[in-house]
């Protein structure tokens, strides 16, 4: 198995593939890294030239054409938002700005109260802005980047391998991988929780939550949610939904051919 890693998407992106010559692997890995870097440039809330910031600048009634990748992630985000009755919310950037997790865009149009899935109407690659929205795709853009990187590796002739972007992982081909999740109770401990083949996995863990005020130790609030799904984009979206809905997300998980493992603050575990 050949492997390379680069710092991208604010995380470390690792690309692996088997059976190719060193040169063939390098060409494939370069294509995969380029794809990830492109997703970052299009969908970063930090970069003023990104599609997300263009949407944040748009006023009600404007139409703008976005990159096909941005349109694909937006379409997916809207589908998850509707399927989860809003538990998945990509229109959360104003709250993140308020909390100081994201920088306030000086050029943004003040966002309205309409849910993002209703505020933005997508037709092909054209976005009709019914009300201003500040999108933060967060993890699903990372998951999408992982899926795209896997597609580039396959297109370049790699038959089996894996892409891991700081925990959003997708394995393809005949490779079977054991997924370890860091214990939310002890950073030095890893739990081997799942085996993946031609599948994906994402984890949302305590760090992200602790910033929002850590749950007390005797609470049934989740500390770590891991989702296995056919794509990294779906796995990442579902971690956010399961985080909020817990077992109520069971049906959605089944429909998405996905499974979830929740470790709660009180130490209890739920899995589907």
């Amino acid at each position: 198995m050949r492997q390379r890693a680069r710092p991208l998407l604010g995380t470390l992106v690792e690309v692996r593939a088997q059976g190719a010559s060193a040169t063939a692997f390098d060409v494939a890995a370069d294509a995969a890294f380029d794809a990830v870097a492109q997703v970052h440039a299009l969908m970063s809330f930090h970069e003023a030239g990104s599609d997300l910031r263009r949407i944040a600048r748009a006023r009600a009634g404007e139409r703008l054409v976005v990159h096909p990748h941005t349109a694909a992630v937006l379409r997916s985000a809207q589908r998850w938002a509707r399927a989860s009755d809003g538990a998945f919310d990509a229109g959360c950037a104003p709250r993140a700005v308020e909390q100081g997790w994201l920088p306030a865009p000086a050029d943004g149009t003040p966002p309205g109260a309409l849910p993002f899935e209703d505020a933005l109407e997508l037709a092909g690659h054209s976005v009709h802005v019914h009300a201003p929205v500040w999108l933060d795709f967060g993890g699903i853009a990372k998951g999408y980047a992982v899926d795209l990187a896997v597609a580039r590796l396959r297109r370049a002739g790699m038959r089996t391998g894996a892409v891991n972007a700081g925990g959003d992982l997708r394995v393809f081909g005949t490779l079977e991988e054991t997924v370890h999740v860091r214990s939310p109770f002890d950073a030095a401990t890893l739990w081997p929780v799942a085996a993946l083949k031609d599948s994906a996995c994402a984890t949302s863990a305590s760090g992200a939550v602790a910033r929002r005020g850590a749950a007390p130790v005797d609470s049934p609030a989740p500390r770590s949610v891991t989702v296995l799904a056919p794509t990294a984009c779906a796995a990442d979206a579902l971690t956010k939904i399961v985080w909020q809905q817990g077992e109520l997300a069971s049906q959605l998980l089944r429909r998405a051919r996905a499974r979830a493992l929740v470790v709660r603050a009180d130490g209890s575990v739920w899995q589907s």
Binding site: M1, Q3, R4, A5, R6, P7, G10, T11, L12, E14, R16, D26, A162, N164, A165, G166, G167, L169, E177, T178, V179, H180, R182, S183, F185, D186, A187, A188, T189, L190, W191, P192, V193, A194, A195, L196, K197, D198, S199, A202, T203, A205, S206, G207, A208, A210, R211, A214, L228, A229, P230, T239, R257, R259, L261, V263, G267, S268, V269, Q271
Partner: protein
């Protein structure tokens, strides 16, 4: 054909039971590339590569160190040439994140522009330190959402958000150093 399954049984009812199968994070390490690999990829038209160990003046040694860290030791670089022309160089550095040590290489062209940043090796844990609760407590509320996978030869990545910040900071320090010590001047 997509397949995935849990390795933890549904009958488990607590993190304590999960912990029975746990492995220490400190066993995790991965090697991705050598500095030579990075040099050959970044400068594929080069006809010669030369290792240059740069002894740093005290001001540069301080400027290249992470905040609060000891002054940087001699800087390992690889210069790429095509005939008489200097194409650029690769600079090797290490950063210590919260969970990990990362060796990385930055390829810069002759004008000092970054061509690529690649991770060379990754090591989880800080030896004994990681077992000290007070040391670990610094992470509470700071860690990113991490899953990591451990294959047959233990290749994985975790603690990624923090470590990436440190790599990015290190790259900025190297770019600033390279701007103060241009290759063009040296060639002339």
């Amino acid at each position: 054909m997509t397949s995935h399954r849990w390795l933890v049984s549904p009958s488990l009812s607590g993190a304590a039971l999960l912990a029975a199968a746990a492995v220490p994070a400190s066993v995790c390490a991965a090697t991705y590339a050598t500095a030579d690999d990075v040099a050959h990829r970044a400068f594929n038209t080069a006809t010669a590569f030369g290792e240059v160990l740069v002894t740093l003046a005290p001001a540069d040694a301080a400027a290249l160190a992470a905040p609060g860290a000891a002054p940087h030791g001699p800087l390992r670089t690889i210069e790429a040439r095509q005939g008489d022309a200097v194409l650029g160089r690769v600079v090797v550095d290490s950063v210590i994140g919260k969970f990990e040590q990362i060796d990385y290489a930055v390829a810069l062209d002759a004008a000092g522009k970054v061509l690529a940043v690649e991770i060379l090796t990754y090591r989880e844990g800080h030896g004994g330190e990681v077992r000290m609760p007070s040391w670990r407590n610094q992470f509470v509320g700071k860690t990113a959402a991490d899953a990591l996978h451990v294959g047959a030869d233990i290749a994985n990545i975790s603690g990624a958000t923090l470590s990436c910040t440190h790599v990015t900071d290190g790259v900025h320090r190297i770019v600033a150093w390279a701007a103060r010590h241009p290759l063009a001047a040296k060639a002339a």
